[in-house]
Amino acid sequence: MDWQGQKLAEQLMQILLLIAAVVAFVVGYATASFRTMMLIYAGGVVLTTLITIPNWPCFNRHPLKWLDPSEAEKHPKPQVVAVSSKKKSSKK
């Protein structure tokens, strides 16, 4: 997922869980059935899991712009020069 997709997924997760909780409580209270409330909430949690956790394409609409490989070759990484041989001769 890209950054925008992550933000969208997190917001969606929070809103969906809150809605599931409210619906579950209202229906459970109205039907005077604790079991109904728990079942609706569990269903809501499973639904939210299916929507927000996998990498759906809708969460990847703003893909990151990685640097072009040809551009990278023009600016090579600096090389580390070995200094250990000088130190050994001074100790002796």
């Binding site: 997760m13 909780a21 209270y29 899991t49 927000t52 956790i53």
Partner: protein, 167 residues
């Protein structure tokens, strides 16, 4: 939100926290229920009334208990525990409570009942103070919820008296 595991963890934590809130609100909604329980207890017979070898009084009663506890049940009630206690005062103790009978009522349908039994638990005094004693029979109940706070209350019925001599 960087990986499956991160999102799954966030979702699970949030879901369980909200579940705790739902259960707390469900328990709170119990405060708004209208409770009108009623009960009557009759002592049909005093089976025997003796002094035990150790010097303590013991009495055996046959009780007729009628109660309607249906209004105590809410959507958040798992069971109601009801018990009958004999309460009286002696010179040694300001309040003696002796449990005579109890029952667990798992469903609303069973909460309106009529039962005639001898006392389930023995009515033994600490001493020999029971002759001619006036006592109350109190029906206590504990409403045990599925989640949250347990409520307890009672109905006090007074006017019972034990005989003046052993039988």
């Amino acid at each position: 939100m960087h990986s499956f595991g991160y999102r799954a963890n966030a979702l699970l934590t949030f879901a369980v926290t909200i579940l705790a809130f739902i259960c707390a609100i469900a328990s709170f909604s119990d405060n708004f229920s209208n409770q009108t329980p009623s009960a009557q207890i009759q002592i049909l017979n005093i089976n025997w009334f003796q002094k035990q070898p150790h010097g303590n009084d013991e009495v055996s009663l046959t009780l007729n208990i009628t109660a309607d506890l249906q209004s105590l049940f809410t959507w958040n009630t798992k069971q109601v525990f009801a018990f009958v206690a004999a309460e009286y005062e002696t010179s040694k103790n300001a309040l003696n409570q002796v449990s005579l009978w109890d029952a667990i009522i798992p469903e609303k349908e069973h909460a309106k009942f009529w039962i005639q039994i001898s006392n389930k638990y023995r009515f033994i005094d600490q001493g020999h103070n029971l002759r001619g004693k006036d006592f109350n029979l109190t029906l206590h109940w504990h409403v045990m919820p599925k989640t949250g706070k347990m409520f307890a209350d009672k109905i006090v019925m007074s006017g019972y008296r034990l005989p003046n001599t052993y039988r």
